[in-house]
Amino acid sequence: VKSAAFEYHAPARAEEITELLGELGDGAKVIAGGQSLVPMMALRLAVFDHLVDIRNVSGLRGIEGRNGNWKSGAAEHSAAEHGAAEHSARHGWSVWIGAGTTQAAIGGSDLVAKAVPLLARATPLIGHFQIRNRGTIGGSLAHAEAAAEYPAVALALGATVEALSPRGQRSIPVAEFFTGIWSTALEADELLTGVTFPVWGGAGGGCGFAVEEFARRPVDFALAGAAVAVELSGLDGSGGSRIRRCGIGLIGLGPTPLRASAAEASVTGTAAGDAGSAARAKEIGATAMAELDSVPSDLHGPAKYRKRVGAAMVATAWQRAVKEAVNQEAASA
């Protein structure tokens, strides 16, 4: 298992990378950690004449809290640090993560743990720790593996990808980013430079997040999984609360990372107490699976089985997320 020969480039500036990609065309591939790309090349599932590495571009690494023009970098003085209950401290904030930031760095970030808990909770499910030490969030999103964790989290939270090309910078909502098997909206000469996650909970309601997945062995590709984010409306006069918005990202249940839009719509606006019930969670799992039309089928599980597992993963993650949101709201009341 050795890769076909390729030429290796590691420029120090992002602009040089996009120029190179433009020059080299289809024969070039960006490497951002290589934890999927290198095994695929070693198995000759993928062959590229040129690899362009982002590792020398320091501006592509880092985690920053942002609010309008405010930025908080290494010191992580984000308002989100002031505590989950203080919604005014979360309003308008987002967290920018450079494409070359490793999964290990994300998993170890206090800012991510507080401001984007779903991302923090999904991180330990990615491969082994050795993989997370090299694998990057940009690599994970650009690879667009349907069974990967970060794409599902990005979909659930409504993240935005930023891309650089010789024509300039543009933003792509993650909902429009995944276009097919291992395919994205990135042009051939476009480089994914970072991703911005909105901080949920800025409007005052409780928030809850959960990720669930099932694999043959703990580190294998998930047969099915779900990443769920829930935001409540805040307690009304009678002490009740509604689902203001929610995001359900599906793992391993289609050719691309998917969002269960119909399931989300079916429960948005309903009472939180009812939405968090086991019966309702089961329905939401079933609704999420009913939308799917090309569930993968392979040695490890036929499509029918994956859907069954997927429904259970959605239901479990949904119930946990709602419970956390309700508890958070009760605690801050």
């Binding site: 043959r216 062995r217 703990p218 590709f221 040695l299 490890h300 599980g301 089985y305």
Partner: protein
């Protein structure tokens, strides 16, 4: 299937080095567990093998098996010099029936009969669906 506890006893006559004996047994047991639950030489309809890498041909690793508990039994001395007996294969021979019978026992209330390995999650669900249908 989650294995909660695994206990194995062997009789290799007098043990020269218990560490080596336990290592042999552990290796065999893990291989046997793999055969019962994970390893599958699968082919597609055209006869092409589909589990051609260790991403698809699943082997249990140290993290996928329970702590193995050992019992050492010495009955009569073996025929060889020193009364020693072999210890190479016992673990692998006992593990598949032990694991499969444990699963069979767990599924017995549903009236399920197990006829093939590996007992993958999808295979077990299919067996349950069959008897319910």
């Amino acid at each position: 299937v989650r294995l909660l506890r695994y206990i194995v006893s062997e009789d290799c006559g007098r043990m020269i080095n218990p560490n080596v004996v336990e290592g042999q047994i552990a290796g065999g047991v893990v291989q046997g567990i793999g055969g019962a639950l994970l390893e599958e030489l699968a082919y597609d309809a055209d006869g092409n093998p589909v589990a051609t890498t260790f991403m698809d041909y699943l082997l249990p690793t140290a993290a996928d098996v329970p702590v193995i508990e050992y019992g050492h039994v010495e009955t009569a001395p073996g025929p060889g010099p020193g009364g020693y007996k072999g210890v190479g294969e016992g673990g692998a021979i006992g593990a598949p029936p032990a694991v499969v019978n444990a699963v069979a026992d767990a599924l017995a209330p549903f009236g399920v009969t197990i006829t093939r390995v590996p007992l993958t999650p999808a295979a077990i669900i299919a067996l349950l669906d069959e008897v319910r249908a």
